[in-house]
Symmetry: C2
Subunit: 462 residues, 2 copies
């Protein structure tokens, strides 16, 4: 009896969690008792009893002659209920909140952005003073639907210099890079669709895609791009709708897409009508240019997005989408409907900063600082037995493997207790196979205390 | 045969449009041939033939033994395909784009915001100069997950002064008011849910809710709030999930929610677990305070949202959500996932402007200007035979009825040809029964040319 009770409860729990995560939408027919029993590998009587109890709880309803239905309205969407259950320490949202909430005293070698003093603050301040001097519509008026025309022309020239053929009318400004991806998701995805990401990839891609209730498939990332065999197999097995990637400096590995991989990848995508979203957020940190899928494809199946949160400001928000014309027109409607037309003011400051004569010089200095920091951080990590997966040419990230037997999640927990916020590998990994990896941001590794705490925490693990 | 052909095509077209609007989600089972035939009132053989042709077109697939399924991936989401087909001139998205795109020369008595010179630009400029002088994290760093603590404390005090009991931890900043409503929609709504709005209501509510693929029911709005009988009936008939409204100065009517209506409304909502989203965007334009549902309810089933785009700046973006604690925590996760954590910079400028000693004085002047403009615009409109529905106590809007037999959509089309952008009533009306109404923004009615063009356009209609 105890066993039967447990089984019924576990079936109930499974169904409840499918309702909470909206795998079962409200007012939707549940699988028949027979199908459910088969799917869950339990007896029919177990499912009958579970359904009956769920009806008693008001969680589902029985419609005579039509079967069982989820009730509506349902519980609010809870992102932490979607997808496989993971420890809070490797939950992408937890890592984001921990980094964003951290107080002045804490050290953040795991965070994804530059320290504020590495940004071109004098350029931003000049732009602010300019705006404060003029009688300017930029201070109070809504933006035109696609965003500032001057900014779109700037982006057009910038993309042309990367060999991406695009007109200014094919570009729409957004509130941020994340907002850009989110709009594309709302435009192209439906719940249940499949999306490919790199494994590892930027961890917020997981949280963002969860909010779209899609199935996420991770493609192992190699030092020259995604594993092409696995990519082809995933297309065959899952008929995915989207592939979301960084072509430039890859997050978290610092790798670059090799030209021959780019070409084959695009050929595979074109054969299957897979849309590629290429996030070019790290463009200005690149020292040697890697190919852009958007350039090879001519913005047909590839959508280019980007922002300036890594190079101008994470606080003054401005992102963009470049795509084929009819998609952009529909994305404009979607943007107006869901966020009206913002960012006139922020985009003006970002544009003035980007076109300030000092910006290029500041970027050269930044490249130099980062190169120095990559070198010194690598050395200190190797001294602790922590090995970079590759030695990146540019960017701020080092993707590193711990000594044999050490666990990154435990390490992150221990270091957090000493005020050091790390980014454990499994946060970036859809398959959760990066348990002995960490991502380091070399720009945030200037304090010696980080390495002392790391050494201490490594010693805690036998 | 011709008739059968036409019927089959119309069945195909109907199914295709349901797929385009995502009434049928991808990879989802279609109704059985028998059920479809019954629903569409056609013969079974017509449906069999339509399904077969749709299979041939690749639009749907047949799974032996399991029925017909929509294929995935599907066409992108197109907002203009969702809901009843309306003329572009009364499509909310068209009116938004027309107003946002308008060039310097055009007059915009239909637009929903103040002219730039009516804003407190000197306060904004002072805030900019302040920020340009300090070594400030606000220039480059991400915001904490809930947004600036100082701003949340300011909002807490502000809400307490409206008798809304709230802690700063129950408040989250957003990119804008529209963004706030959008996040709540993603949190609480699933496709197919029902949402109540006022009829008429702010037109972008329609566009926003379309993007959530919900069923929208309009409740007739009276000079003291929504019609309570119709509200009760709609709850009974449709079991709605949300009701979205302005309690303060109502858009587009300028009416106020009366206390007795607020109380009854809340009693009805509480009896049925209906969540109310109260948009308080016009708070600072109110001269006599109307009750807030959030105050009566204690932020249990009511969610309060707002922004400063009508009083500080539409370009410097900042909105907020106040709700019960556990909802806010989940909304923070959803915000980080879908837009990361922005608006630190903009919220700092808005906060400095709001707390600048000159802001209150500017608002007093603004109230005075608006009162004068309401009076003079009313007089000029009445001279043309255009009658305000009520004489609002405050705010910028006049909801006006045209002389008998005149059509607002036609009038808007004619005036547009002369460079005057109007807002025809049916844009605001879910039931499309406001064909002889227009919304005027008195702050945008200072140019005599508007009334000359109106007189001319009225004469065009016999």
């Amino acid at each position: 009896m105890a066993r039967a009770g447990t089984l019924i409860e576990s079936v109930m729990k499974d169904i409840e969690s499918k309702i909470a995560s909206r795998a079962y939408l409200p007012n939707t027919r549940l699988p028949s008792v027979r199908a459910q029993a088969k799917a869950m590998q339990v007896s029919i009587s177990t499912v009958v009893e579970a359904y009956d109890r769920l009806v008693a709880e008001g969680c589902i309803v029985s419609r005579p002659g039509a079967g069982f239905y989820t009730s509506g309205p349902i519980a609010p969407l809870n992102l932490t209920h979607i997808g496989p259950k993971v420890a809070r320490e490797i939950d992408p949202l937890w890592v984001s909140r921990e980094s964003l909430e951290s107080t002045a005293g804490s050290l953040m070698p795991g965070c994804g952005w530059l320290p504020s003093e590495w940004f071109y603050q004098s350029g931003i301040k000049r732009a602010l003073r300019n705006l404060a001097r003029t009688h300017s519509l930029d201070l109070t008026e809504y933006a035109p639907p696609k965003g500032s025309q001057a900014f779109r022309h700037f982006l057009q020239r910038r993309m042309l210099s990367h060999n991406i053929e695009v007109s200014a009318e094919q570009i729409m400004l957004t509130e941020s890079g994340t907002h850009a991806i989110d709009l594309i998701g709302r435009f192209l995805l439906s719940p249940g669709d499949t999306v490919l990401v790199d494994d590892p990839c930027y961890f917020n891609f997981h949280a963002l895609l969860k909010a779209h209730r899609v199935k996420i498939i991770g493609i192992p990332y190699t030092p020259s791009g995604p594993d092409l065999e696995r990519f082809a197999q995933a297309i065959k097995d899952h008929n995915p709708r989207l592939y979301l990637t960084n072509s430039g400096v890859h997050n978290p590995t610092g790798a670059h897409l090799a030209p021959h991989v780019a070409h084959k990848l695009l050929t595979l995508a074109q054969a299957s009508e897979l849309v590629i979203v290429e996030d070019d957020i790290f463009a200005d940190l690149e020292t040697i240019r890697s190919p852009r899928l958007a350039a090879l494809d001519g913005l047909d199946q590839v959508i280019e997005i980007g922002s300036f949160s890594k190079t101008v400001s994470a606080s003054i928000r401005c992102g963009y989408i470049a795509a084929k014309q009819d998609w952009i027109e529909q994305l404009v409607d979607l943007k107006i409907a869901t966020s009206f037309s913002g960012n006139r003011f922020d985009s003006e400051i970002v544009l003035q900063t980007l076109t300030d004569s000092g910006y290029r010089k500041h970027m050269e200095k930044l490249h130099h600082w980062l190169a120095k920091q990559r070198q010194s951080t690598t050395k200190k990590l190797i001294n602790l037995g922590i090995q970079p997966w590759i030695q990146p040419k540019d960017g701020m990230f080092l993707w590193c493997q711990l000594p044999t037997g050490k666990n990154a999640t435990q390490l992150a927990r221990d270091c957090l207790s000493k005020g050091v916020v790390l980014a454990p590998g499994n946060v970036f990994s859809q398959s959760l196979n990066a348990h002995d990896y960490l991502r380091f941001n070399v720009a945030q590794c200037t304090d010696e205390k980080i390495f002392e705490v790391l050494a201490w925490a490594l010693d805690q693990q036998i």
